[in-house]
Amino acid sequence: MSTDTPDNSRYVAVQATDEFAGLRKSLRNFIFPMTVAFFLWYALYVILCAYARDFMAIKVIGHVNVALIFGLLQFVTTFLIAWFYSRYANQRLDPIADRIRAELEGPEDAK
């Protein structure tokens, strides 16, 4: 753990700014809906396997059926969500963070 003692009043000041609230809100707005969406998509795969076996058994090419394609798509969506998040964080979250820093460090320190 870091050994420096944090200056509490400074933390509280940042905590109170609209930017910080906005930063946390943007983060939550991405993370929670995305998690719910992914979990539903994953649950859909499991539920279709359990209850829609005729649909999952439809062959697409050779022995490759819908179930197999669904399973592989799970990997693809996992990766895509992670990629979206990375982009979202770089484009939307980091600029807000930089603004907070600029305000906190005062106009004379800011670049």
Binding site: M1, S2, Y11, Q15, F38, V46, F75, R101
Partner: protein, 544 residues
């Protein structure tokens, strides 16, 4: 059973791979000087190295051998496992990776103290880190023993002992930075060891006129099958044959493979969700989805990223690597049905990856070299997962059990202690089912550290008393389920299911207890909670 005992290349390849591992460990030793170097590699590891290292320890023997075996036996059902493992990384990225890195804590107990300021909670977290670490180490060592026994006929204890000694020495002498290089090397080794034979196997399959892995399975050559587990076989003429362990069946080349009761057959093999209950499936999904973030050896790796953006990039690369890796056991499982169908009868399906190269390509030079490569890759899997686990167990033991000084000497002592105990367990405990114990380790992590991390990072109302109560109830219940599974009497009906896959009830239990007790003890909220939350969520460029 086809045995690779006559393969002269297996032992040299395994030895070469082990020597390379040790050499990289010593190369890293020159760079590791202070305790901080040992524990988090001074946060100077690049995302690509870090991601390969995470892949190296995350893709354990259970994935390398177990999933191919499960696919051979159960069909594409088993895609749930790897999808869950990958999704677990996504949950880790979204919920905990960046805030945890910013917390500045080296270990999970450090995080507990930093967030809630409770020594009692810290001690409890230490106990859970060590328990999960050991629970995950025992099957690794056992698997190493069984692998070496399968490919060389060596006694079971030798493989376990070998892995334990190499890993302990490497961790004790090199620490985390060395381990980062070792792990990254292991990932590429594992990928090569699976991918190169897979390419040849697919070529052979192509040359054989692409036989179907789904129906009409036949024995490629005359085969004598020694039954290891009692089973009911349905012959192709419709007659039913009950066999017991020790029975020998002889099949001429081209004979049809009988169907085994309880195993996927024909078109069913391509459809998930046939075997097992829905409860077990949901439980496993919950355990893998939420348990990944609670595995101590996975978490510690995120401390070695330079900043939040690097942590995000690392996860992205890991997801790509995990996805690429899991395509390979699928190929082995499918081809195993064509070339090693006798494993369906013996029940020894975990050996599919090890036996497939010589079975499909032949026992000539090429087949032997590929078989040796696969064996070395399997060994690499045991070495790398065990290294990562031992590093985190030793790190926690060194800071919390052997005194708080955290000197390099203490870390080495802790590494030896952390390695000896699972070895003794692995040598003495009767054979545990590898993939089931791995699932249980995920379940314990999902019911203890997952609620602690998610609530600790995202809810200011969490109190120390709430966290302790949640971990004791949810994590304790999962631990009890583990102990009953390993030591208790065989169960039947719904208690058996609830105990074999406990996550579906222990995770909600842990979350609910944590929230309710926190609300009841609201007056004891740590006074610094505002500052702590800011530190977790504010960008680190603030330098607060």
């Amino acid at each position: 059973m086809i045995n690779a005992a006559h393969n002269p290349f297996v032992i040299p390849t395994v030895v070469l791979m082990t020597v390379a591992t040790v050499a990289i460990g010593f190369y890293g030793l020159r760079l590791a000087r202070t305790t901080s170097d040992f524990l988090v590699a001074s946060r100077m590891v690049s995302p690509a190295w870090n991601a390969a290292a995470i892949g190296g320890e995350y893709l354990s023997a259970a994935s390398f051998l177990g999933i191919a075996g499960l696919i051979l036996k159960n069909g594409v059902d088993v895609l749930w496992y790897p999808v869950g493992f990958a999704a677990g990384y996504l949950a880790l990225l979204l919920f905990v990776a960046a805030p945890l890195r910013r917390s500045g804590a080296f270990t999970l107990p450090d995080f507990c103290e930093m967030r809630l300021g409770s020594r009692r909670l810290r001690t409890l977290a230490t106990v859970f880190v060590v328990f999960i670490g050991w629970l995950y180490l025992v099957p690794q060592l056992q698997g190493a023993g069984l692998t070496l026994a399968t490919v060389t006929g060596a006694p079971y204890a030798l493989g376990a002992l070998l892995v334990c000694v190499v890993v302990t020495a490497n961790v004790a002498l090199g620490g985390m930075r060395a381990i980062t290089f070792v792990q990254a090397f292991q990932y590429w080794l594992k990928l090569t060891a699976l991918a190169v034979p897979a390419i040849f196997l697919v070529l052979v399959w192509n040359a054989d006129g692409r036989p179907s892995p789904v129906d009409g399975l036949t024995f490629p050559q005359a085969t004598v099958v020694t039954i290891e587990h009692p089973a009911t076989l349905t012959m192709t003429d419709g007659s039913v044959l009950t066999v017991k362990a020790g029975d020998e069946l002889t099949f001429p080349a081209g004979a049809a493979v009988p169907a085994v009761a309880g195993m996927a057959d024909g078109l069913d093999w391509l459809l998930p969700g046939r075997g097992g209950s829905l409860f077990g499936t949901y439980s496993l999904i919950l355990a893998t989805f939420l348990g990944t973030m609670g595995l101590p050896h996975v978490l510690v790796r995120f401390y070695t990223n330079r900043d939040g953006a690097a942590a995000r990039r690392t996860t992205l690369v890991v997801l790509a690597m995990v996805g690429a890796f899991y395509l390979l056991p699928t190929i082995y499982g499918a081809l195993g049905r064509i070339y090693t169908p006798q494993l369906l009868l013996t029940g020894d399906t975990d050996a599919a990856v090890l036996l497939l190269p010589s079975a499909a390509i032949g026992t000539g030079l090429g087949g032997q070299l590929l078989a040796a490569l696969v064996a070395a890759g399997a060994f690499a899997a045991f070495l790398s997962t065990s290294s990562g686990l031992l590093t985190s167990v030793a790190g926690v033991l060194a800071t919390d059990v052997f005194g708080r000084g955290g000197s390099v000497h203490t870390f080495r002592l802790a590494a030896v202690a952390g390695g000896v105990i699972p070895l003794l367990l692995a040598l003495n405990v009767a054979s545990l089912d590898v993939s089931q114990v791995v699932g249980l380790a995920f379940a314990v992590a999902a019911s203890s550290f997952c609620p602690l991390l998610v609530l600790g990072i995202w809810w200011r109302g969490l109190t120390a008393a709430g966290a302790v109560a949640g971990i004791v109830t949810g994590g304790g219940a999962a631990v009890a389920a583990v102990l009953v599974t390993v030591l208790g009497p065989p169960l039947s009906g719904w208690p058996a299911e609830a105990v074999a896959q406990p996550a579906a009830w222990t995770v909600p239990l842990a979350f609910t207890t944590m929230v309710l007790v926190s609300l009841a003890t609201r007056r004891h909220l740590p006074g610094t909670v505002g500052a702590t939350m800011l530190r977790l969520h504010a960008p680190e460029s603030l330098h607060l």
